[in-house]
């Protein structure tokens, strides 16, 4: 059994209340940090831990914190990105609804490290019930002296606010999130300037994912070095994986980074194999925006080594034969999955969620979706397949924010690894357009 640093007490009754949480060792990190450490020491500890951003990009959190501009007399902000809405990713929701005090504790410790006196949790508007849970927990933290003026008699003040968003996927992009938090339309900003220099209200700001902030708690409690002992190489600590799709036991698992993908899918400790005894066909390992991989490439790298659940191992081979750990949205697809239909479905999402600011994303996402719609419904042509790749390439890297890539990568990867299915949708258009129709290996293409 792997160690559970975040979710150890998740099933304890009443853990969402201050009393029970405190009884199980809650808020120790705040006491330790505020009473015995300077803010710089806390940052140093996070650096030592090797913690990497859990929202998807995997940027080292400690390093991100150290980039924060610290001009005198200017407020700084910590913003927690709780706008989780990538298809396949649902780990933060669980963490916040079951362990609200863990996030609040992380927010206090992190805010102290960054010298922020006002912090925000920007939560997806649809998660109204989680917002209520957080608000209740924040009120409890205020009542017990962990928030507000002069926390634990240290002279450090912190106000924490929860802010519901309007329910747009783009508001999960950090600069769009800041725009939305400022009360404007959630359009991503041009970078530079980066939020660390000019973020919320044009002040230095750090934006971190819920899980990254929660992970600060065990890092301070146990020490950065201890945390760094878990995991493999530069992928340290534990990670929440939200596993869904055709698995026997879909759900949210806290794994020690470095678990082999094969073990994660097939062992009883985790997903328990593919349902109904079927074969695995493909996996999207890190939320719908990362490239899809066929079974043979998700289990083993191109060099024949076992693929591990780490940032490095999953991205081994680049985008030709690898993928990304991303946000940990693990979607498994069995042999009855139509890849074209699945890609169209993803594409529909990104088309719908594009903010429309920059032309390649605004026009390109819609174009890809329409071509995929045609292919799926039996009106495609052979040249449409190359057209898809070409349009994806026109979007990738040319947009203001990474939503362009998020839309382009799944399409390009699906064509790269499952081109035969796209071709089958052209050559067997009528058959492929039937509900539930799926390409079977060995089908004659022409």
């Amino acid at each position: 059994m792997g160690r559970k640093l975040l979710t150890e007490h998740i099933n304890v009754e009443g853990i969402d209340t201050f009393e029970v949480y405190r009884k199980h060792g809650g808020y120790r990190s705040v006491e330790k940090a505020i009473k015995t450490m300077t803010p710089d020491e806390v940052v140093e500890e996070v650096k030592k831990s090797g913690l990497r951003g859990r929202g998807g990009a995997g940027f080292p959190t400690g390093m991100k914190w150290s980039f924060l501009a610290k001009p005198e007399g200017v407020p700084r902000y910590l913003v927690c990105n709780a706008d989780e809405s990538e298809p396949g990713t649902f780990k933060d929701r669980q963490l916040m609804s079951k362990l609200p005090h863990l996030l609040i504790e992380g927010m206090i410790t992190s805010s102290y490290a960054l010298g922020a006196n006002t912090s925000y949790i920007y939560i997806r508007g649809e998660l109204l019930y989680v917002l209520r849970i957080l608000e209740k927990a924040i009120a409890e933290a205020y009542a017990n002296g962990f928030l507000g003026k002069n926390i634990l008699g240290s002279g450090y003040d912190l106000d924490l606010h929860v802010h519901p968003g309007g329910g747009a996927y783009i508001c999960g992009e950090e600069t769009a999130l800041l725009e939305s938090l400022e009360g404007k339309r959630g359009n991503p900003r041009n970078k530079p300037p980066f939020p660390a220099v000019q973020g919320l209200y044009a002040r230095p700001t750090v934006v971190n994912n819920v899980e990254s902030i929660a992970a600060v708690v065990p890092i301070i409690n146990e020490g950065g070095d201890e945390y760094a002992k878990i995991g493999v190489g530069r992928s340290t600590g534990t990670k929440l994986i939200s596993a869904c799709g055709h698995l026997n036991k879909p759900g949210i698992y806290e794994i020690e980074l470095g678990v082999p993908v094969e073990e994660f899918i097939y062992s009883d400790e985790y997903c328990g194999g593919i349902w109904k005894g079927r074969q695995l066909k493909a996996v999207v390992a890190g939320g719908s925006s990362v490239p899809i991989l066929p079974t043979e490439l998700i289990l083993k790298t191109a060099a024949g080594e076992n693929r591990l659940m780490t940032y490095e191992s999953l991205s081994d081979g680049g985008f030709m034969t690898g993928t990304m750990l991303g946000s940990g949205g693990f979607i498994a697809m069995d042999e009855t999955t139509c890849i074209v239909r699945n890609t169209w479905n993803f594409s529909r999402f990104y088309h719908h969620e594009s903010c429309g600011q920059c032309s390649p994303c605004r026009e390109g996402t819609g174009w890809m979706e329409k071509v995929l719609h045609r292919l799926e419904h039996g009106h495609g042509h052979m040249e449409d397949i190359d057209l898809l790749v070409s349009v994806a390439k026109q979007i990738e890297g040319n947009t203001i924010c990474p939503l362009g890539e998020a839309a382009a990568w799944p399409v390009a990867a699906a064509v790269r690894h499952f081109r035969h299915e796209f071709e089958w949708h052209v050559t067997h258009a009528k058959e492929a357009a039937q509900p539930g129709a799926v390409y079977r290996p060995g089908a004659v293409l022409a």
Binding site: Q357, C358, R362, T365, N398
Partner: protein
């Protein structure tokens, strides 16, 4: 000051200058195209992606190339930066893609569009695009939207550059009624519940629009722009500086616009009274022919020919004469 190399040409510019503005200091054909960036409008730029360039070296301190192409209109220069624009195959190929994307929903109705001849997208497509498209799907169209008696909104032609939104926001503070509604390719410029735009400076949204989405209702369908004759003029206006260009057909003033620089950017905003109401020569003090770039289709007109007459030249400012000598108007068929 920062020294950068742009397409092999060195230029020194003040810190904080954007790559695009550094390139504009060099001038000529190497300047990246810009559809959404507009110098007088704070916050504009970065959206159309037409001005993407490759940064082959970030700075003297960190000479690594930037991983992605960057929008030159919003990226500040660093000392020692090396930028590739027309010298990069990648940039030119991406620009082809951008033209294709922009033309997906923009109708090619140039023969009936009032912006023809002054359209940034037309020029951009001509210089960087290809003559065919691979797009076969349904395009978006819009019902006619009424936004008042002075300005015509053709939403079908809009490329969502946001220039008019910034204009409304920045020069008509408090009176702003229009902005972007919806998102993605369903986004549109609109007024709140079909409101009308009627503040004193609203006409400027016509000047900033790079395409024919916002046109002048007092001018539309009256004349093709290359058959008119632009003349600089001014008047003593209590609201604005009153420096304009009058567009003549014979003795009639068909249209009044603000003066623009060589990159099509307005030099001074003008008020609606100057733009829409003062259409008599007697309202104005005439300064002389407006300069039109020789590459512009407007210069295909021969309105400047009388300038060659010495008696006319004698009345013109020296700078105008010099300009005409250096950039003689192109003659059709020559």
């Amino acid at each position: 000051m920062a020294k950068i190399t742009f397409d092999g040409v060195e230029v020194e510019v003040p810190d904080g200058t954007t790559i695009l503005n550094a390139a504009r200091q060099i001038g000529g054909g190497i300047v990246p195209p810009a559809m959404c960036y507009y110098t007088p409008l704070k916050g504009s730029g970065g959206k159309c992606r037409a001005c993407l360039v490759r940064v082959a070296a970030g700075s003297a301190k960190d000479p690594r190339p930037m991983p992605k192409l960057v929008a030159s209109c919003v990226t500040p220069v660093q000392d020692g930066m090396v930028v590739e624009n027309t010298t990069s195959e990648q940039v030119l190929s991406v620009r082809k893609g951008i033209v294709e994307m922009l033309l997906i929903n923009h109708p090619l109705d140039c023969p009936v569009c009032d912006q023809a001849g002054e359209c940034d997208l037309q020029n951009f497509a001509f210089e960087h695009g290809v003559s065919t498209t691979r797009y076969q799907e349904e395009r978006r169209t819009f019902e006619k939207i009424d936004i008042g008696p002075l300005i015509q909104l053709h939403m079908t032609r809009c490329i969502l550059c946001y220039r008019c939104v910034y204009t409304a926001d920045q020069i008509a503070k408090g009176d702003r009624v229009h902005g972007v509604l919806g998102r993605g390719d369903a986004a549109e410029i609109g007024t709140y519940i079909e409101n009308i735009i009627d503040n004193d400076f609203s006409g400027n949204v016509i000047d900033v629009c790079p395409v024919g989405a916002l046109t002048d209702k007092t001018f539309r369908f009256k004349q093709r722009v290359w058959f008119t004759k632009p003349v600089n003029a001014h008047r003593d206006c209590p609201k604005c500086a009153g420096n304009v260009v009058l567009w003549y057909k014979g003795k009639d003033v068909l249209r009044t616009t603000a003066r623009k620089d060589q990159y099509g950017e307005v030099k001074e905003w003008i008020c609606n009274e100057c733009r829409f109401e003062k259409k008599e020569t007697s309202d104005w003090v005439i300064e002389g022919p407006a300069h039109i770039d020789r590459s512009s289709v407007i210069s295909a007109n021969h309105y400047e020919l009388p300038v060659l007459n010495q008696s006319v030249v004698a009345d013109l400012p020296e700078s105008t004469v010099r300009d005409l000598q250096q950039n003689p108007p192109l003659k059709l068929g020559s």
